[in-house]
């Protein structure tokens, strides 16, 4: 008996010194991804400056987040060709973190922000491991997609996707652990990062309901005792706190608490039927008798359909909290326009995880996907740096 305990203690001690592969894997893949893209950039442009490379990666919204970290929120809208845009559409949490890194380390917003984004993605990948239920092949694919896939640019420059995925993954892990209040705090941070963070409130309620059923409770019992669940009440109440703080700031700054919604007019966004928008985007180029290319509208529509389909798969697999979060995470931006739908779908952690779990089921598909993702990553680098609308 004594010997067994001593052996277990020794094993535990050995374990503490061993860094599990799900910690090292994302970190190594991140380093490989950064090195690969830098090499491709240097080879294709003949520019060897690392800052030049980071600057080339920083396109579209990256510049907005950088300026936000540098100068804060702007005054009267005057940007874009129509003179009606400014940076009120960009949620503050990510830029606050970039600003803090700059203050602490003295690194420029671009360099500090790029490092921060990469490390946030590594952190997100590490935290995501429990959501894969030990399916390492799927987990590897998820990490590979983040760091060496065709959307790796979002996870290596100043975009909010990395932070949002980190918070989403943390939130769903906490829901699995039944720590609803901390999940609510995570939700508050999510809603300070992107408007779709609000949807996490629904995920909390659904996860609690599912956990109740898993624990042997009945549906009636859940609703009968719901009023006593002060932890759920607090968790759900916490989620909008992030977006509300932003609204208060904007009210003081501009006089309009919903300025982040209203300013979307500069981007041609207004609330409408998401399925009508989807149909328009799907048919637009065919109505114009264009059958030879894939227009940006069609590409965005296809990305939306992929997001919706994967949400349906989540529901089918019984992961209703993921499904509802992802479904409305697609429908909410789709209801305003189809622009940037590729990025919005890629920014939904459950969508990426479910896609990895699906593809990881078949060994041959897994091995087929790895080179395909890698080739796309390399080929799309010049497309990204030349500000392609497709990837925007």
């Amino acid at each position: 008996m004594e010997e067994t305990i001593a052996e277990t203690r020794a094993a535990a001690k050995r374990w503490t010194w061993r860094i599990p592969s799900y910690v090292l894997l994302p970190f190594y893949l991140m380093l490989i991804g950064v090195a690969l893209r830098y090499a491709v950039y240097a080879r294709t442009t003949n520019h060897w400056g690392v800052v030049d490379y980071l600057r080339a990666l920083c396109v579209y919204d990256c510049n907005a987040y950088e300026r936000l970290a540098l100068n804060g929120y702007e005054g009267r809208p005057s940007g874009f060709d129509k003179g009606d845009a400014n940076n009120w559409a960009f949620f503050p949490l990510y830029s606050i973190l970039v600003w803090a890194i700059n203050r602490i380390t003295g690194l420029s917003m671009l360099i500090g922000g790029s490092i921060l984004t990469s490390l946030l993605t590594v952190w997100a990948a590490i935290l995501a491991w429990p959501l894969f239920d030990g399916k390492f092949r799927a987990y590897f694919l998820f990490c590979f997609f983040l760091f060496l896939g065709p959307a790796s640019y979002y996870f290596s420059t100043l975009y909010t996707e990395a932070l949002f995925i980190l918070l989403t993954v943390a939130g769903f892990v906490l829901l699995r652990q039944r720590d609803y209040v901390t999940a609510g705090v995570t939700g508050a941070l999510m809603s300070a990062t992107r408007s779709t963070g609000l949807l996490f409130a629904a995920a909390i309620l659904i996860a609690a309901f599912q956990n109740h059923l898993k624990d042997g409770g009945s549906i009636r019992q859940f609703f009968r005792e719901l009023w006593k669940r002060t932890d759920l009440l607090l968790a759900v109440a916490l989620v909008p706190v992030g977006i509300c703080c932003f609204a208060v700031y904007l009210y003081v700054h501009s006089g309009d608490a919903l300025a982040f919604v209203h300013i979307q007019r500069a981007w041609g966004r207004a609330f409408a039927d998401p399925f009508h928008n989807l149909w328009l985007a799907l048919t637009m180029q065919f109505n114009a008798h264009n059958y030879s290319t894939i227009s940006t509208d069609l590409a965005f529509a296809l990305a939306s359909i992929a997001g919706l389909a994967l949400s349906a798969v989540m529901a089918w697999k019984g992961k209703w909290d993921w499904a509802i979060f992802s479904l409305f995470g697609v429908l909410l931006p789709l209801s305003t326009n189809t622009y940037s739908m590729i990025r919005f779908v890629v920014g939904l952690a459950p969508v990426l995880i479910m896609a990895s779990l699906l593809v990881g089921r078949w060994r041959w598909l897994f091995y087929l996907m790895l080179p395909a993702l890698l080739i796309l990553d390399v080929l799309l680098l010049p497309v990204w740096t030349s500000r392609s609308y497709y990837l925007m």
Binding site: R229, L234, C244, D256, A257, H262, R265, A272, L280, D297
Partner: protein, 216 residues
Amino acid sequence: MLVRYRPRAWHLVIVALIAAFDLVVLYMVLNPRVADDYRAYYIDRSASCFPRIASGYYPLGAPVSFVTGRNGYQRDTIRWCGFMAAKTDGIKSFGDYGILKLKFPVPDNDLLLTFSSWVNSSADKPPRDVQVVVNGERLETITYTTARRVNGRFVIPAWLAKRGDGGLEIKFEVPRIGPPGTNSEPVTLQLRLEALRVSVLAENKAVERPSPAKLR
């Protein structure tokens, strides 16, 4: 195994504080403190453009070029609303109208408005009417039938010029030519202006005066 949950008072205290905070936010959402132009463009969506902060400075009689780099380009102080920034081919309208605001001491004489313009149309498309409205009064309708340049040359009666707030507000109202796309904004005819001038009529060659019937 089903675990019995015990409600906690501190949860309720924080929820009450958050609810109070949410009420404050709700008040702010329902009562924006914004200028009329902001409300019209962003909140009500009744305006199709958001005005620039422009001085409107205009030395009467001076030609204004909207083409970057040309003489007179530095007088691009009159582009107020509904025209995009000047480029190598002039300024292009967006939305239902484009407005220029010219501030100058209005004389007691009639004025002459001249400009050169294009629209994104062609001979195989239906004719498109653009209304020229000065100080809120419809001055003239221009019909564009091709993609060729159309030179506008209209007399602005002194009484109409005097009606403005120390100058002229020249509005070009363009028609809608298609249903909204995925950006929810209606597709409108795009008017392109390359140059414009307002001068005292008496200092110009004789031009046809608009009939009173046209001034509605």
